[in-house]
Symmetry: D2
Subunit: 288 residues, 4 copies
């Protein structure tokens, strides 16, 4: 499918009969061709309904703004829909925040350079200076925003807000080892993706591989989630696991875990970029 | 969802704009409530289009036969559709064919007894007599149809046709170690499910675990597929794999493989029973 | 390897140079042929050392009792070893405790009947009467020991102790939905295996699939562990996970989870039976 | 374990009683401390025996050369052993051959830069010029050795032999899309690792993702193997698989496959570097 011509419609509303007919009828009347359609209902009687459509626009009789207005007037208002229309050609702007470890950030930079992630990357911000050269090798702007102790948080967040506000559509915490304030998080609702290095809700908090090693688990995991004010408790987007054994010391868990983190974060980010995720309370619907 | 009220519609046609609108509009007009909808297109320009809908019937203004006739007249004919309507309450009749090994057959019998497989089981047929007691313990009719060498095939197939024709909707080869004739297979097009004990197309033919052991693979697999005249080459429904090592001798591969076979076959059968599979040439679309 | 002739030696001691040489030299001098050898050290300087050997006895110059005495005198005493010698031909006696759900218990009974689990099964005990027929179909003695509320615990445990003491070597809780007292557990140290239906330490306690569904995880798990006085906190033997999505309702999690539980429990029990597990504090060394 | 002090001994011989006692006794007498020991026998009566030991050298009474000589005289000769002694501190030299695709080569370069792969990288050779900048960003020497058609093979191989002979200990084909001659391969027996983008033996030869897509498999795979004169038939080192569905077009298989290839190749190379692989005919023993 040509990226130029592909539009996406995300819908959330109360479930009731006729939603699919109303939406698909509207698109057909205006000349769109639906190429993907996913839906989910929490309960057909009184539940919440979610839908994602991908459609091709070349045959349409409406320009972008008119299409949005027409959809609101002809369909959304009547059915009480929350909805969002986006175009694959409009690449979202993804800022990356990282600390000293490079694996998660590099994975995103590399996938972007290969064309796997359809985003713009306005900048990579780190509280360490170690990723400067890596960012440069991918032609990405690097900002060093130091933040070593709690006292520096306010200043660091102010500086980051300055760098990001109006310049990024969403943020990725690629092993960013600082805890953002509730105020900062509130500026980016469901628009900050974090990779936590455990199979949440197991081993929330600090040093999860050490916790896992001490508990003697036989499987480790990684979790990508949207960041909320409650640490490690936001809506989970994606998880994966890997087998370990008694002979895997803490270093081995960290090494195996890095591979999981890279994969899980990359999938979560791709789904976010392709508008495949709808947040429903503290859960996600992922139309992967 | 109450099983009594759930209907399923499977559709195959040339892709073109307006299919979703036509089908969902039809169902809405007649009072159905769509609860699942999956679609797939091989290519929006000139490709083949596939759709599966599950909908609730209590509010409908048409009885079963009228519904089918109306769908044909109002939608299917105009859009050139192959389609099939089924009702969750009408349980398909699944006959099981097995040989001496019991694991695959028992897995199906046990899942049926737990209510996981919504089928009737008219009989279990084996070319050995060893599964008689197991069938009895699940209250399933057992038929011993001996077939030891090639000369007995015609008689065995004739006897099985007698036992199955008009009494079964589909057959499952649960490690049935005899090769059915093209004529027999032709009576059950896309209605015989086989479990092959390898990751097809690797290790087709006899004794795949021995082949795998000799090749020194690090992963073994199992494959459920529809049976066609070409041995081990029919449309693949489901596969899964498990890790092995140099220390796993042939017996260990067989033991680990049995667990895979049980899981893979059970999933394939459930999807078939729930009308989640559409065959497209030598491939399957699985709306799992 | 013929089961009759296979012996196993499990060793635990402080790590120091010369342990492998001492043990393998001893076995060689007395005519044994080592066929498996696994070792693990928590730290070569001052750590704990663990070893498992499997060896063939036909060429040995010592009978069983003399062998044990000679090992103690010639090797174990000098190196301060905890050790245990067992013979594959001496099948341990495994009692199964279950409640109303049959899948975990049936899996063990079926694997036993196929020869996959080299145990004797003195009895299956349940606080419900529903598994009586299943036990009978596998020729296993069934005891109904009712226990519906807390007030019945003492009586139920007393009855079970009567049935098990001297008749079982270890117990398997195959989805036994009652919490055993610390006193009961203390009679069977590291000899009660439980299957918990979550990826511990996530979702300990009651109704873990409901907890998992509410948290919106993308992976579910199952955990086999030895039972200790602290609920769901004993040493983990084995875990596995399966992918789920937003469309999997609670029932689907339970269905997918049952398959995990069966696999994970079967593996843990087999390793226990084959003397492949050494408990080290609250962790296990598993020489699988 | 400090890398400086760690030695590894790989042994292959006919199985017979007393091997472990002889080897461990020798090491103990000379002051070594065994920290890892793995063994494998194809058959205790008349089979082939394989062993890998890792031991710490600080307490030893022999220097490197004397140790090798003493082992040959005191143990290996008598037991008819093939053996190899190596030291973790002596990093093998790994040359990388790649074509236009960068993912497999970059993965190795990145893991090396992180310290995960204990090798020297004398050079990266490609038949395209596209990886020059990537090599430079990791400070690795790049050689462009063009080879577009069959007529250029002899010249290209001659040039590569010039660049590699005496400068590399083993080669990694990181998606090198040219077929090396039997003569070239013969110079590097069991010292060329290839990553094939399918689950071998399925889909050997060209364009395996296209073959997989056409066959309609539900799982794709990747295979790392040693290169022999017979294309795609050398001893398999490692494999892994990933789930796909009917909705994954050829491009998606390639994208998912790249992730598999990176992981599988990285594991195979690490095991080779840590002397964890013994080739036995057309199979590998991997003491992972």
């Amino acid at each position: 499918m040509s990226e130029d011509r592909t539009a996406r419609l995300l819908i959330r509303c109360a479930d009731r009969p006729g939603i699919v007919a109303a939406v698909s009828g509207f698109l057909y009347r205006h000349g769109a061709n639906i190429t993907e359609l996913d839906q989910h209902s929490t309960d057909p009687s009184g539940g919440r309904f979610f839908m994602r459509l991908e459609f091709q626009t070349p045959g349409m009789d409406l320009a972008r703004e008119s299409l949005a207005r027409a959809f609101e007037d002809e369909v959304a208002q009547r059915l009480g829909m929350d909805w969002r229309l986006s175009y694959a050609a409009q690449r979202p702007r993804m800022a990356i925040l990282a600390s000293a470890q490079d694996h998660a950030a590099l994975e995103l930079l590399w996938r972007h350079s290969r064309g796997e992630l359809k985003v713009e990357i306005p900048c990579l911000i780190s509280n360490h200076d170690t990723l400067r050269a890596a960012a440069a090798s991918f032609d990405v702007t690097f900002h060093h925003v130091p933040w070593q102790d709690a006292g520096q948080r306010a200043a660091a967040e102010a500086r980051m807000t300055e760098l990001l506000e109006g310049r990024a559509d969403f943020l990725v915490l690629a092993r960013y080892m600082r805890i953002l304030s509730a105020e900062f998080v509130a500026r980016w609702p469901n628009r900050i993706i974090n990779i936590h290095h455990s199979f949440l809700p197991a081993f929330a908090g600090a040093d999860p591989y050490r916790q896992a090693h001490e508990r003697g688990v036989k499987i480790i995991g990684a979790t990508a989630h949207y960041v909320t004010a409650a640490l490690d408790e936001g809506p989970i987007i994606e998880q994966d696991t890997a087998r370990v054994s008694h002979s895997d010391e803490l270093d081995a868990l960290r090494r195996l875990g890095r591979d999981l983190e890279r994969q899980v974060l990359a999938r979560a980010v791709r789904w976010h970029v392709e508008d495949r995720i709808i947040v429903d309370g503290n859960k996600t619907i992922v139309f992967a």
